[in-house]
């Protein structure tokens, strides 16, 4: 039953959104634009590489690669934020009450929405491959393919679990999309997407460490561009695995709470 709901929700979302102007904007135009914008932000400076400090080691990473990896993971994060908008769409269409009247597992619905958005992300991946071809001078330095695969997989899983938590806001509140919009720039700033994390003021670091994107960026950049091994990135990988578990449990608690509150207050279909 759980798997069927996940599959049905994912297929429904894909049919509605895969080739829509909304997805093309969020999964293609916005990431490409943001990536170029951040790359141009670096152009007035002399150095074309970025020093990434991790533990006692400093990795010198190619600027284009630094920006592309940042955009690769950040776009996935925005796609997860966007997954919550499917609840908003249900509300607009007047089907949210019907959906929540069904005996389907709420976690399965959340997971289905998140999975669909992960597939919608394929637009970004295609664009990424093309830009990689265009910027052929990106120096990839992989010494441990397993570390790279683990970093990518755990980053995506942790962000998907966080995305599921954020989806519940759209069930609870009619201002879910505003909340989503509010998160974007602070997350870009705090996660180390734009500049290396060691340059961020120390007082802001605790906020950075709440984001799976921070650890994902750290692990993927080090393993794909810095030649780090799985031993080198064991700390971010362990954190990502823990975050996946915590956010998944949190999502299942939050969705029940949000539904109960919305039903008690009869605000499910209110705009």
């Amino acid at each position: 039953m759980f798997t069927r709901v996940v599959f049905a929700e994912a297929v429904k979302s894909l049919k509605v959104y895969f080739f829509s102007s909304r997805t093309l904007f969020w999964a293609l135009a916005l990431p490409l634009g943001n990536g170029l914008y951040l790359y141009f932000l670096y152009l007035p400076f002399a150095t074309k590489s970025v020093d990434l400090q991790f533990g006692a080691t400093t990795y010198t990473i190619d600027l284009v690669g630094f920006t592309i990896i940042g955009q690769l993971l950040y776009s996935f994060f925005t796609m997860m934020l966007l997954a919550g908008a499917s609840f908003d769409a249900e509300r607009w269409q007047g089907t949210l009450e019907v959906l929540l009247l069904s005996p389907a597992s709420r976690v399965a619905i959340l997971l289905g929405g998140a999975l669909a958005n992960a597939v919608n992300y394929v637009w970004m991946l295609v664009a990424l491959v093309l830009s990689w071809v265009a910027f052929i001078h990106v120096s990839i330095f992989v010494t441990d393919p397993l570390a790279l695969c683990g970093s990518l997989l755990l980053s995506y899983l942790a962000m998907m679990a966080l995305g599921m938590c954020l989806e519940t806001v759209d069930v609870y509140s009619r201002r879910g999309s505003i909340f989503t919009a509010w998160l974007q720039e602070p997350v870009m700033f705090l996660s180390g997407q734009i500049f290396p994390l060691q340059s961020l003021p120390v007082s802001l670091l605790p906020l950075s460490y709440l984001l799976p994107l921070t650890f994902g960026l750290m692990a993927v950049r080090l393993t794909l561009l810095g030649g780090a091994s799985i031993y080198d990135v064991r700390m971010p990988l362990a954190t990502l695995a823990s975050m996946t578990l915590i956010f998944f449990i949190l999502a299942s608690l939050l969705v029940n709470y949000a539904e109960r509150r919305a039903k008690t207050k009869a605000t499910l279909t209110q705009f």
Binding site: L41, F45, A46, E185
Partner: protein
């Protein structure tokens, strides 16, 4: 005819100003500053921490005619906020008309469509000035300094940019009417402006293909004139940029007006005005 158009402009601007302030939202207002704040913060960190005040070997100052990197970024962001606040309103007129169910009534009136859109532009530009000033105030905390104010040039850059935005707004609305999209067209255009009109990097330092795109955007010249008027930049030829901006503005407005008129005609014929 002219007096009728002036009345349409004035009344539309009045209605829009009242609507904006009656339904003022702090969250929406604050959201407009997130991108400039992030950019200013990131630029400050890059300049002061990551690269410890190094600039381009070719000489950032030589390309720009001024060495104030953070002032350069502040003006770019203030300009962006002005463009965003104005384009956000003007580019979505037809979407909101359709969403609120007033699009058919609006197009049944005998008023000039250009006068109607001008009224909206006037209100949006007026409101945008608040955001614009706010970014300069924020910029002071990041090291913004006015080197030499050239008031006529500053006002010219604002007025001509607003005129260009009006043309872009007409085209955006024509697209919105045709494809019935919600905000994607307007948002995509904002991305285009943000990336290519030289907000965070001098156009001269961008790759050649990006320079080609930026030359076709009126906002590129608008922001350059604004920087010249505030930062005392001498390498810019103001008359050349003003002339280019005027030509581009005229092209955008003419294309926008023709497209909007044609699309209105087509939608009337096919009765598609209020179909989503």
């Amino acid at each position: 005819m002219a007096s009728h158009s002036i009345r349409v402009i004035a009344s539309t601007a009045k209605v829009n100003l009242i609507m904006t302030w009656r339904f003022f939202s702090w969250t929406g207002f604050a959201l407009r500053f997130f991108t400039p704040l992030m950019t200013l913060g990131a630029a400050w960190i890059l300049y002061n921490v990551v690269y410890a005040r190094q600039t381009l070997p070719l000489g950032f100052g030589a390309v720009i005619g001024s060495s104030g990197y953070l002032s350069f970024i502040t003006v770019g962001n203030a300009f962006y906020v002005f463009v965003f606040a104005a384009a956000f309103v003007v580019g979505r007129v037809m979407f909101w008309e359709r969403a609120t169910g007033t699009i058919e009534a609006t197009f049944m009136t005998p008023m000039s469509r250009l006068a109607y859109m001008s009224g909206i532009m006037l209100a949006a530009a007026t409101n945008s000035l608040i955001d614009f000033a706010a970014v300069f105030i924020l910029g002071l905390a990041f090291g913004f300094q006015i080197a030499l104010l050239n008031a006529p040039l500053f006002l010219s850059s604002l007025l001509l940019t607003a005129f260009g935005l009006f043309g872009i707004g007409l085209i955006t609305n024509a697209i919105t009417l045709t494809f019935r999209d919600r905000t994607t067209t307007a948002n995509s255009l904002m991305i285009l402006f943000m990336v290519f009109c030289g907000l965070v990097c001098p156009v001269e330092l961008m790759p050649p293909w990006a320079q080609l795109i930026s030359k076709a955007l009126p906002l590129t010249y608008g922001v350059r004139l604004m920087r010249a008027s505030l930062l005392g930049i001498v390498t810019v030829d103001p008359m050349h940029d003003i002339a280019t901006l005027l030509v581009l503005d005229a092209i955008y407005v003419v294309i926008g007006a023709i497209t909007l008129a044609q699309i209105e005609k087509n939608l009337r014929k096919k009765a598609l005005f209020s179909i989503f």
